[in-house]
C-alpha cells in the first residue's frame, strides 16, 4: 500500500488501553481517508445505535485522520470528526498545521479515541511509544499558555531519548471552552488554527482530553512513484506562486472591505445587511499590525496566514490576522469596523478555544435580539450589547466560554440556544438564526448571487452551514461539496485547488497511491458513497435533535428577505426557484425528492448493509418513503 502507513492508533481513555489496528486496503480504496474514512468508521462502529448516542457520552468516538495526500500535496491538514454535538451528524472538520505529517511520520494514518478519562489527560505519541499523561496542570489554561507549556514539555520528554536538539512535537489542544463542553468549541492547532465546524473541541472536553502531542521520526510513507510526486509538487507550487497573488500577499483578509463590498455577501449585524463601504476595513489598515508577511504550514506555497501583534490594556496580543471569515464574524457582523478591535476579538476566541464563525454568528443573533428589545440588559446580566460595543461582546464571549450566566444557554450553540430562549420569551426566535442544521453559515451570503454560494448551498449541504463544503450543481463544480470532499478526505488544503490545473489532483492521487481514482470514478461512485452515508447519519441524528427531511433542508428565514442596501439591493432568495434547485440537486445524487438516498442508489454504491439496516431497524422510514 502506498501513501498510507496502513495503521490506526486506537486509544480507549476509559480503560487506558492503547492498540494499533491495521486498515483494510479495500476500505481505503473506497473511503480514501479523512472525512471519507471517518464516515465509514463511524457507520461501522456506532451506526447501529447512532440516534441514541449523546455526542458527549464516552460512546462517541473522536477521530483524528490524515489522508494519502497529507504531507505530499501542498498544504497538509488533519481531519477531526466524530458525532457532532452541533448537527448530531458527521462533520469532517479540517485544520492546518504539522500534526498530520508528524502522525504519518510516527507510523499512523489516524487516531481513534473512545471512552472518557477519569481525570484530565493528554496523549503523548513519539513514534510507536504512546502514553496517556496527566493534564491537571494545564486544565483550565488558555490557548497560548497551554501551547507554550506543551511545546516545552513535549520537547523535554523527547530530549531524553537522543543526543542533539529535539524539535517540538505537533500539538492539537482545546481551550477553556472545550473543557466546558461548549458546543462552539474548536480543536486548536498551532497558535491560531482551529477545526471549528462540528464542535469537536467540546467532544475532546467531554473525554477529559486536553491535548494530543505527536512526534514522528520516520519518513512519510512510501509512494507509488516518487519522481512523479516530486514533479507534481513542483508543478502545483509553481501554479500557486503564480496564481495566488492576492492570497499570498494578504490572505483572505483582503476581503474585509474589498470582497464583501463587491459581492455584497458579508454578514452585517446578524445578516440584516450584507454590504458595507467602510474603508477603515481595508486590508492596508490590518497590514499595519503584521510582524510577518508570510506564515504557513507544512509544504504550503500559498501561506495565506499573517501574524499581528500589538498591546491592548497592557496585554500583549499575538494573533493571526483575522481572515475574511473572522473579519466578518468578529467584525462586521457585530457592527465592529475597527481593525484593532477585530484582531483583539480574534485573539480572544483563539485563547478560549472557540470557533470564530460559530461564536461570531451567535453573538450577532444575540445582538439583534438586544436591538429588538427581545433580550434586555437584565437578561444579559448587565451587558449592554449595542452594535460595535467591543467590551460588551468580549465579555459575552468569555461568559460563553466559561458557561457563566446567559453564557450557559448560548454555549449550547445557535440552534439549541434559540429553542431555549424561544421557550423563555414565548416567541419564535429561530427565525432570527442564520444557520443550517445547527451549524453557523459561513460569511458568504447567497442573496446577492455574486458570491460562489447558491440558494441551495447551505440548505442542502451535509455539513450544514459549512462554507467550505457547499451543495452545488453541477456536482463536479470546483466549489461543490463533492469536490471539497476529495480534499477533506485527502486530507489537504482546498485553497490550493483554486490555483492549480483541474486534472492535477487526479494525477497526484494516482502517483501517491498507485490506484486508479479518476475524476469520473470520484464523482460517480466514491464521493456519492461517502456523502450518502454522511447524509443518512445526519438524518438519523438524535438524541436531542433530529432533522426532518426537506423541512430542515432550508435557508434561514433572513435569506428570503430582500437585501436592504448595496449594489444587490432588493435581491432575495426566491423560494420557488430554491425548491426547484433543491429537487434537482437531490435527483443528481440519486436521492429521493426528500433528499433521502434511495435503496436503489445505495445498492448501486455497494451499500447493501446500509439498506438492510435501515429497512430492519427503523422500518424503512428513511428509505424510499413517500409519506
Amino acid at each position: 500500500m502506498y501513501g498510507y502507513t496502513g495503521k490506526l492508533l486506537e486509544v480507549d481513555l476509559s480503560n487506558k488501553k492503547i492498540n494499533e489496528i491495521k486498515i483494510d486496503e479495500e476500505i481505503l480504496k473506497q473511503y480514501i481517508g479523512g472525512r471519507g474514512l471517518a464516515v465509514k468508521i463511524l457507520w461501522d462502529r456506532i451506526g447501529i445505535k447512532w440516534d441514541s448516542i449523546n455526542p458527549f457520552s464516552p460512546e462517541n468516538i473522536l477521530l483524528i485522520l490524515t489522508g494519502p495526500l497529507t504531507g505530499f500535496f501542498p498544504g497538509g491538514r488533519i481531519c477531526i470528526s466524530g458525532k457532532s454535538p452541533q448537527s448530531n451528524g458527521v462533520v469532517g472538520s479540517t485544520v492546518g498545521g504539522e500534526f498530520g505529517i508528524e502522525l504519518k511520520c510516527a507510523g499512523y494514518d489516524g487516531i481513534i479515541i473512545s471512552g472518557k478519562a477519569e481525570t484530565p489527560c493528554y496523549i503523548f505519541i513519539s513514534d510507536s511509544y504512546v502514553e496517556i499523561k496527566r493534564a491537571s496542570h494545564i486544565w483550565g489554561k488558555g490557548g497560548k499558555e497551554t501551547l507554550k507549556t506543551l511545546l516545552n514539555e513535549g520537547r523535554m520528554m523527547l530530549q531524553k531519548n537522543k543526543l542533539g536538539k529535539w524539535r517540538e512535537p505537533a500539538v492539537l489542544y482545546i481551550g477553556p471552552a472545550g473543557e466546558r463542553k461548549v458546543r462552539l468549541a474548536a480543536v486548536m492547532s498551532k497558535l491560531t488554527h482551529a477545526a471549528g465546524y462540528g464542535g469537536y473541541g467540546a467532544v475532546m472536553g467531554s473525554k477529559n482530553l486536553k491535548a494530543i502531542l505527536v512526534k514522528g521520526t520516520g519518513p512519510l510513507p512510501e509512494v507509488f512513484n516518487i519522481e512523479e510526486v516530486n514533479k507534481l509538487i513542483k508543478c502545483a507550487c509553481k501554479e500557486c506562486y503564480e496564481n495566488q497573488a492576492l492570497f499570498r500577499q494578504w490572505g483572505t483578509g483582503y476581503g474585509g472591505y474589498y470582497f464583501g463590498n463587491v459581492t455584497s455577501s458579508e454578514p452585517i449585524k446578524n445578516w440584516q445587511e450584507e454590504w458595507h463601504e467602510e474603508k477603515s476595513y481595508s486590508v492596508t489598515q490590518f497590514e499595519r499590525f503584521w510582524v510577518k508577511r508570510y506564515w504557513g504550514d507544512f509544504g504550503c506555497p500559498t501561506t495565506c496566514l499573517k501574524i499581528s501583534t500589538f498591546k491592548m490594556n497592557s496585554e500583549n496580543i499575538v494573533s493571526d490576522n483575522p481572515d475574511y471569515e473572522l473579519q466578518a464574524y468578529l467584525g462586521t457582523n457585530l457592527g465592529i469596523f475597527n481593525p484593532v478591535e477585530n484582531i483583539y476579538l480574534s485573539s480572544l476566541i483563539d485563547e478560549l478555544g472557540l470557533c470564530g464563525i460559530n461564536t461570531g454568528n451567535i453573538l450577532g443573533f444575540v445582538g439583534e435580539l438586544y436591538e429588538k428589545g427581545i433580550l434586555t440588559k437584565e437578561d444579559l446580566d448587565g451587558v449592554e450589547l449595542t452594535w460595535g460595543n467591543l467590551n460588551a461582546f468580549a465579555l459575552l464571549i468569555k461568559k460563553i466560554a466559561y458557561r457563566e450566566d446567559i453564557g450557559d444557554i448560548l454555549a449550547e450553540g445557535i440552534y439549541r440556544a434559540a429553542l431555549k430562549l424561544s421557550e423563555i420569551k414565548k416567541k419564535d426566535l429561530l427565525k432570527y438564526t442564520v444557520q443550517s442544521k445547527a451549524i453557523a453559515i459561513g460569511a458568504h451570503g447567497v442573496r446577492s448571487g455574486l458570491d460562489y454560494t447558491d440558494k441551495i448551498s447551505y440548505a442542502c449541504s451535509t455539513q450544514g452551514g459549512d462554507h467550505t463544503s457547499v451543495a452545488k450543481l453541477p456536482l463536479d463544480h470546483p466549489n461543490s461539496e463533492l469536490t471539497v470532499l476529495f480534499y477533506d478526505s485527502g486530507v489537504v488544503c482546498w485553497f490550493n485547488d483554486w490555483a492549480i490545473q483541474k486534472d492535477l489532483k487526479w494525477k497526484f492521487i494516482k502517483a501517491v497511491t498507485g490506484w486508479d481514482i479518476t475524476e469520473k470514478k470520484w464523482y460517480e461512485e466514491l464521493a456519492p458513497r461517502i456523502l450518502s452515508i454522511q447524509r443518512i447519519l445526519l438524518l438519523i441524528g438524535g438524541p436531542d435533535i433530529k432533522w426532518i427531511p426537506l423541512k430542515d433542508d432550508e435557508n434561514p428565514q433572513r435569506f428570503y428577505e430582500p437585501l436592504p442596501s448595496g449594489p444587490a439591493k432588493g435581491r432575495y432568495v426566491d423560494r420557488k426557484k430554491f425548491e426547484e434547485e433543491r429537487k434537482e440537486y437531490y435527483k443528481a445524487l440519486g436521492w429521493s425528492e426528500k433528499g433521502i438516498p434511495t435503496s436503489e442508489t445505495l445498492m448501486k454504491l455497494g451499500l447493501n448493509d446500509v439498506v438492510q439496516f435501515l429497512k430492519q431497524k427503523i422500518n424503512g422510514f428513511y428509505l424510499d418513503s413517500t409519506s
Binding site: 504539522e98 536538539k165 498551532k190 521520526t217 507550487c237 508570510y294 507544512f298 501561506t303 500583549n316 499575538v318
Partner: protein, 174 residues
C-alpha cells in the same frame, strides 16, 4: 577557498512552510522525511519559526572534535562532509558545535550536517522559488574581506527564539 559559501537566514521572512525540509530530504534521502533533513525549522514559541542549519564555521569545531576522522571539509564549497561509514553517531560533534546543529539520522548510525548539496543548496533554491528568500547564499569572502558575521547564526535555537520573541512579540520566553 575563495568560492566557499554559506547560508544566511532571515527569521522574519521564514513562513515556516518547511519546503526546505522537503527539498533537503528528497535530495538526500529520496523521501519526504523532515527529521532526516539537514535543515530543520524549530517552532519553540508559537508563531516563531527558526531555521536551524550549519553555518560552516571558519574554525570547524565539529571537524576538529571528531576522533574517528568521519568529518572532512569540502575544498570547493567549504561544507562539512560526513563519512557515513566512519561515523559512530557518538554525538561529540554536536556538543562541539556552537549552535548544536548536527543531528543524528533517525534510522541510521551517522550524523547529519548540511553539505550544501555540492554547491547548489536545494533549500535555498526552494525558498527563493517561493519568493520568501529567508535563506540566502553568501560567499565566505566578499571583496577580499573575510566574513565576520556568521557566528550570529551559529547559535542554539532556544537563544534565537528567546531574543526574537522579545523583539517581535514583546514576550519573555523562559
Amino acid at each position: 577557498m575563495g568560492k566557499n559559501i554559506w547560508i544566511a537566514r532571515d527569521y522574519l521572512k521564514c513562513s515556516g512552510c518547511r519546503k526546505c525540509e522537503i527539498a533537503c530530504s528528497l535530495f538526500h534521502e529520496g523521501k519526504i522525511w523532515p527529521e532526516a533533513s539537514r535543515i530543520r525549522i524549530f517552532m519553540l514559541f508559537p508563531g516563531l519559526e527558526v531555521p536551524h542549519l550549519c553555518t560552516q564555521c571558519d574554525n570547524y569545531p565539529c571537524v576538529n572534535s571528531c576522533k574517528f576522522n568521519a568529518l572532512s571539509i569540502n575544498e570547493k564549497t567549504g561544507a562539512v562532509i560526513v563519512n557515513k561509514e566512519a561515523c559512530t553517531a557518538c554525538g561529540v560533534c554536536i556538543n562541539a558545535c556552537p549552535g548544536k546543529v548536527p543531528w543524528l539520522h533517525p534510522k541510521e548510525k551517522y550524523v547529519l550536517i548540511c553539505d550544501l548539496c555540492g554547491g547548489n543548496p536545494k533549500c535555498v533554491e526552494e525558498c527563493h522559488e517561493g519568493g520568501w528568500d529567508a535563506l540566502k547564499i553568501i560567499p565566505k569572502t566578499v571583496l577580499g574581506f573575510e566574513r565576520k558575521n556568521y557566528k550570529l547564526y551559529a547559535r542554539e535555537p532556544e537563544d534565537v527564539t528567546k531574543e526574537l520573541a522579545k523583539v517581535i512579540y514583546g514576550e519573555e520566553v523562559s
